[in-house]
């Protein structure tokens, strides 16, 4: 028998039968491992043979910015664009390109200079606008990719493409693949956690579809577990009113005893799985309240994340929760913050978006760094596409300035997890319109993320409907130049 499987078996054995020996042989337990996707329910240990090679990162925190932040306003500084403010879009930049129906043809539109000034920051000299002072102050810890490009022009397909590799719903998301492939390091928390937020007063929020963290055709235990801001951070976590912990513990003991009687009689390994499933549910009931209790965080730490940190449901709160999850062994945390869809709010709501996300993002990276966790945690910040360097709206009406969807060039940044700090990779042309240097496609990014987690993206596959599916479809190249 493969020693890895053997080891897995022993772990399972200990887990199941810690309370007493049940006289069931190893042979019977072998059945547990041959069911689809290994026996579901007990602690998820991932696939044998993974990671494929020594990983650089153990965890991923993806700060997904829903709605598509404007690379033109935030990171991709183009002096020529400033000079061309109000001038028509040159034809040569958009011939043969497809835009969303809101823009239609860019012909006749005029260029719009970024509304805030840019400066170079740190030793690396990265360009960041004054919209993002906290992120800017971290420039030497960040790796900017300024040559991102994608295929989709509408939000849902584009977000789905980033997170699942397909524009259509139904494929497993990045976190689900990680949970499936690498398993969880925690036996009391999910391997893949998701949190969603939106700035107060935002008028352009995009819906958070649950397929953004779905498990697709992978077993559904790998789908992201949504952490919520209400009374129950995880659905159905709390015992019913009037059923306090001692009663519940007693019930679970009775359930386990009755299940063990059944297991003796039926020898169905699924019953052992059930026992473990209920134990894990109980452990979650105690570990989640501990997780969401920030009372032991110092004021200094809290201050890093900014004023929103104590308010459940904010991006800041979620950033701190993300660190606490990763600390406790959660493999992948996906934060999604909506409201970046500035069709006519570049001069208004974009400020709110940045105010609510800039400091928490920087705070999270600083906090991870000071705890020595940044080395094996990969943080990614970015949206589903960029925004047009030309205007949407009327140049004379500044309060309503906007930019439309733009898939042809945009910026994303990463920190930690074995990615080179303080570099800028790739670039767009002189109007931030198209990629001009070292293009990075969405599948390339996905391949790179998996690579850092010790996974060869061509080898993590799942056979469904006769095809071996993977996150990167049949594409994707690891962007080796950005790896430390």
């Amino acid at each position: 028998m493969d020693p890895r499987i053997e080891a897995k078996l022993m772990i399972n054995r200990r887990e199941f039968f810690g309370r007493q020996a049940l006289g069931m042989g190893t042979a019977a337990l072998a059945g547990l491992l041959t069911r689809d996707g290994l026996a579901a329910g007990q602690q998820n240990k991932g696939l044998p043979g993974l990671p494929h090679f020594a990983p650089k990162a153990k965890n991923i925190i993806y700060l997904f910015q829903n709605g598509a932040p404007s690379h033109v306003e935030l990171f991709d500084f183009k002096p020529k664009l400033v000079g061309m403010h109000g001038k028509p879009v040159p034809d040569s930049y958009f011939e043969g390109k497809r835009f969303s129906t809101m823009t239609g043809n860019p012909k006749g539109k005029v260029m719009l200079a970024p509304v805030e000034p840019f400066k170079q920051h740190g030793k690396s000299g990265a360009w960041v606008s004054s919209f993002m002072p906290h992120v800017a102050s971290l420039a030497d810890d960040l790796c900017f990719i300024k040559s991102m490009h994608t295929e989709a022009v509408n939000h849902a397909p584009a977000i789905s493409f980033f997170l699942s590799g397909s524009q259509l719903p139904g494929r497993p998301s990045l976190g689900a693949w990680l949970s499936y492939g690498l398993g969880s390091e925690a036996d009391n928390l999910p391997a893949f956690a998701v949190m969603t937020s939106i700035s107060k007063g935002t008028t352009c929020g995009q819906i958070f579809y649950d397929f953004y963290w779905g498990s697709g055709f992978l077993p559904s235990q790998h789908q992201g577990v949504k952490f919520r801001s209400g009374a129950d951070p995880v659905l159905y976590l709390s015992n019913p009113e009037g059923m306090s912990a001692p009663v519940r513990r007693g019930m679970l003991d009775d359930i386990a005893k009755l299940n063990e009687i059944k297991l003796k009689e039926f020898a169905d390994p699924e019953i052992a799985t059930r026992i473990s499933q209920y134990e894990m549910a109980y452990r979650m009931q105690t570990s989640v309240p501990e997780l969401t209790d920030f009372s032991k965080e110092t004021e200094k730490t809290l201050a890093l994340y900014g004023p929103g940190v104590k308010e459940p449901g904010t991006f800041a709160h979620h950033c701190l929760l993300a660190r606490r999850l990763v600390e406790r062994g959660t493999r992948c945390v996906q934060l999604m913050h909506a409201g970046w869809d500035q069709h006519r709010s570049i001069t208004t709501e974009l400020y709110t978006q940045c105010r609510d996300t800039d400091q928490p993002t920087a705070g999270l990276i600083r906090d991870l760094k000071q705890r020595g966790m940044l080395n094996d945690t990969l943080v990614i910040w970015g949206g589903e596409f960029g925004r047009t360097p030309f205007i949407q709206g009327d140049l004379g009406n500044r309060p309503q300035w906007g930019r439309d969807h733009h898939p042809y060039a945009f910026t994303l940044f990463m920190a930690g997890g074995g990615v080179k700090p303080g570099i800028t990779y790739g670039g767009s042309d002189d109007l931030a319109m198209n990629v001009a240097d070292k293009p990075v496609h969405v599948h390339d990014l996905q391949a790179t993320l998996l690579h850092q987690m010790g996974i060869d993206h061509t080898k993590l596959t799942f056979k469904f409907q006769g095809r071996h599916f993977r996150l990167t479809d049949v594409f994707g190249k690891v962007v080796k130049d950005i790896l430390a």
Binding site: A27, T34, R98, Y236, I261, Q277, T458
Partner: protein, 828 residues
């Protein structure tokens, strides 16, 4: 891959013992490792070599004296050379492909060539034929042909059938399988007392006649049909497809033959003299998602919808994965991109447009119940009466000669031109705006006339409001002038290339000659005797429902990359039986549940957990976790809370607060129902596409067609069945009923709870656990009576104030435990 052959191959080094079968053993290897570059997809083909056809596989090699495959001659077979060479440029599959054959797979290919390399077609493309039912000499119970196929296979493996399950186990299994509800304690007692030979069959017939049968059967169909109560995507507007859902449940209850079921749903509108019901049935293909996102291009949406219809049909009836062929020829199966768009063409002729604003995109049909039809008639009649009354009144108010209109009367002189135009029309032909105009003019001058006009207006308002509230079901219609269909490059609606006709895939038997190539012809073709796939695909899904896995495990894929059938001859026998029975689903269900195979005990015999962990050989009864929706129904039914009313608009039962609001930034508010709707079956729960009901796990996402069942055991599901209000309230109601019935005897109440959920009595060791658990909970609630009161307030029904709250609470905890033990969560 046949596991036993593989094991044999490993044991004997590289040479497998026994006969190698191409379709079973070799084709999957070639398909998985070679077809991506040497398969049906012409554009992807390398070196002009194809291994998916006999011509390609046996043609001469470029190397002198060799063929790609030379029967009986390993050394002359280029294939073997390429599989085994160490030279990097020659070795197949190439390194960068990422997969390599195992040595036992190479062994199989070698053995097959050694044995003469007999080429066969992929099994599922050959028509099913009844193999002779095997003779069984042992003492095994073989009530019907199913058992003889299963036992014959078991005997080959030197295994034996399991004994019959205990009567109580069997009864619960049957109830859950046929109705999704547990048997009542009275039914259990009656069944235990009935020792007549046909006792079991009597129950089978009773359940097949129960209206709950359709409620259970339709669930899987709803998943395949991607049924939901909202459109999906941004906005996620509500739709009213539920009359279609109720139609489908009724069709199962009425046992509408599956060929008709097929014709009505795919082409009910094209059937001669189509009835309302047949048109309603076509809602099947309008259950797809509708994209109302701002900025979406309608023409692109429309193509998406037609693709969805095409692929759903491909999965549900043909068990083939068409979706790859949007962009290119299939990599494994003989389906070309052209075939895809020719099939697409059948669905391309509806007036459906891609606009997303209207959640009920035409064509639609208004549906109503008999009672509503009466009400509508009444409302129409009332409008008629008011019109007649007005007509009479105006004769008085505007006296005039016969043949003249009121406008021409003396009394109408002085009316402005517009009002005169209204008066010139008969009362029955005036629109609402005209009535209002006239009413305004006479309000002060002629109160009697004004009154009559107001009465008519109110009647019209009532009728229109009723009509607006009627559910509108999206259905199919055919354009008189068909749309042209083109192959779309990479599936892109903007890139039509070659124009194609309307046709079924070339690799399958063709449409009947002479019939117009439309959806009706397609439906007829699907259920025609010559079509090898639908009968197998349909019976396989039915089998999956009862045994947890299909005979072909990949219910969604009968293609070359799909799983091989575990019992090929049984599958074909059943497929032919289905067809020859007149597509009689109840007959097939009866056949399956009356088999001894179905009735076996589900205990795992010694050694079998590792020998046959998935029970593919069927040497024991099926034991698997019940679907989460059935667990909810079981709790409601066992507790007596279940509202049994069939059908109707979707319900909004208990759900943690804020779920919809959070997902939609407050645009969609979940307004929980009260009363009966909290306790209706799960089937009726409102299914919002962007955020499905939170109490269900492992269900289809209801976004695209899903036919494969999944069962995982996430701790989150355990939290739901332990803490969801529905389960806690059910436990409390069940405790209450049994406490009242037991009149003070704890043991009787415990036994009653156990019996209600599990349809059997607790064994002594189980009773011991339950009694001590009860004592412990009693002790706790005696010390904490406030907690007891709180627990009894969970849920909207009121606890019986006559019961001692402490006892009632302790028994509630006990009932909730029983609802959560493995046996309760499983079909056993």
């Amino acid at each position: 891959m046949n596991a036993l052959v593989l094991i044999a191959a490993m044991c004997a080094g590289e040479t497998p013992a026994g006969k190698v079968e191409f379709s079973r053993d070799i084709l999957p290897i070639l398909s998985d490792n070679c077809f991506a570059c040497h398969g049906p997809d012409e554009k992807a083909r390398k070196g002009k070599l194809r291994l998916d056809t006999k011509e390609g596989a046996f043609k001469p090699s470029k190397v002198e004296g060799r063929a790609i495959i030379a029967p009986g001659a390993l050394l002359q077979s280029e294939l073997i050379h390429r599989l085994t060479t160490g030279e990097a440029g020659e070795k197949m599959p190439p390194e960068k492909f990422g997969r390599q054959l195992t040595s036992s797979q190479v062994g199989l290919v070698k053995a097959w060539i050694d044995q003469g390399a007999r080429w066969e077609e992929h099994w599922s493309f050959l028509p099913p034929a009844r193999a002779p039912v095997p003779q069984i000499n042992s003492a095994a119970r073989t009530a019907n042909p199913i058992d003889r196929f299963v036992v014959a296979r078991l005997e080959q493996e030197k295994l034996v059938q399991s004994p019959r399950a205990e009567k109580t186990t069997l009864l619960r299994r049957l109830f859950l399988d046929l109705t999704g509800l547990p048997p009542s304690p009275a039914t259990v007692r009656d069944f235990l007392a009935d020792n007549s030979p046909g006792a079991y069959e009597k129950i089978v017939d009773r359940l097949l006649a129960s209206p709950h049968y359709g409620e259970r059967m339709v669930w899987d169909w709803l998943e395949a049909a991607r049924y939901a109560d909202s459109n999906g995507y941004q906005g996620d507007g509500e739709r009213t497809m539920w009359p279609w859902r109720d139609w489908a449940a009724t069709a199962f209850n009425d046992n509408l033959p599956f060929d008709q079921f097929t014709r009505w749903q795919l082409a009910g509108d094209l059937v001669a003299n189509a009835t309302q019901e047949q048109k309603l049935a076509t809602g099947f293909n309008r259950n797809h998602m509708i994209n109302g996102e701002g900025g979406r291009i309608p023409a692109e949406n429309r193509v998406d919808y037609v693709m969805d219809m095409t692929e759903t049909t491909g999965t549900v009836w043909l068990g083939l994965t068409f979706n790859c062929c949007r962009c290119h020829d299939h990599k494994y199966d003989p389906i070309r991109q052209r075939d895809y768009y020719q099939l697409f063409s059948f669905f391309n002729n509806t007036p459906v447009d891609g606009g997303g604003g209207n959640p009920q995109t035409p064509p639609i049909i208004e549906t109503f119940s008999l009672a509503q039809a009466e009400e509508k008639k009444g409302l129409d009649r009332q409008v008629g009466l008011e019109q007649a009354g007005l007509e009479e009144g105006e004769k008085k108010f505007f006296p005039r000669d016969k043949g003249k209109t009121a406008a021409e009367a003396e009394a109408a002189k002085g009316f402005p031109k517009e009002q005169k135009e209204v008066l010139a029309k008969s009362a029955g032909s005036r629109g609402k705006a005209q009535i209002e105009l006239l009413a305004k003019a006479v309000e002060k001058t002629n109160p009697a006339h004004f009154h009559l006009l107001e009465q008519l207006k109110k009647a019209i308002d009532r009728r229109d409001a009723f009509s607006r509230a009627l559910p509108r079901v999206m259905i199919m219609e055919e354009l008189t002038k068909p749309r042209e269909t083109f192959i779309l490059e990479k599936g892109n609606y903007e890139k039509p290339t070659v124009k194609v006709g309307t046709a079924v895939p070339a690799a399958l038997p063709q449409l009947a000659a002479g019939a117009p190539a439309n959806r009706l012809a397609l439906a007829d073709w699907l259920v025609s005797p010559g079509n090898p796939l639908p009968s197998r695909v349909v019976i396989n899904r039915l089998w999956q429902q009862f045994f947890g896995l299909g005979i072909v495990k990949s219910t969604e894929d009968f293609g070359v990359q799909g799983e091989k059938p575990s019992h090929a001859e049984l599958l074909d026998w059943l497929a032919v039986e289905l067809r020859e029975s007149g597509w009689d689903i109840k007959h097939m269900v009866r056949l399956i549940v009356c088999s001894e195979t179905y009735q076996q005990a589900s205990k795992v015999p010694p050694g079998m957990a590792e020998r046959d962990p998935q029970n593919r050989l069927l040497g024991r009864g099926a034991r698997f976790r019940l679907p989460s929706w059935m667990l909810r129904d079981q709790a409601l039914a066992a507790s007596g809370l279940l509202a049994v009313r069939l059908g109707g608009p979707p319900t909004r039962p208990y759900q943690p607060p804020g779920i919809w609001e959070e997902a939609t930034f407050g645009n969609k508010k979940y307004v929980q129902d009260h009363g009966e709707n909290l306790y209706k079956r799960s089937l009726y729960t409102f299914w919002r596409r962007i955020i499905g009901p939170t109490m269900f796990f492992d269900t289809a996402a209801r976004q695209t067609c899903t036919v494969k069942q999944t069962r995982t055991n996430t701790p989150l599901h355990a939290l739901a069945t332990l803490n969801d209000i529905t389960f806690v309230e059910a436990a409390r109601a069940l405790a209450e009923r049994e406490l009242l019935l037991a009149s003070g005897k704890d043991d009787d109440a415990i036994a009653g709870i156990f019996l209600s959920i599990l349809a059997r009595e607790a064994k002594p060791d189980e009773a011991l656990v339950l009694r001590s658990g009860l004592a412990r909970a009693m002790k706790h609630y005696v010390a904490n009576p406030g907690e007891a009161k709180k627990l009894l307030q969970v849920g909207e029904t009121k606890a019986n104030p006559g019961l001692d709250p402490v006892r009632h609470a302790a028994f509630t905890a006990l009932a909730l435990s029983v609802l959560n033990i493995d046996e309760a969560l499983n079909k056993e």
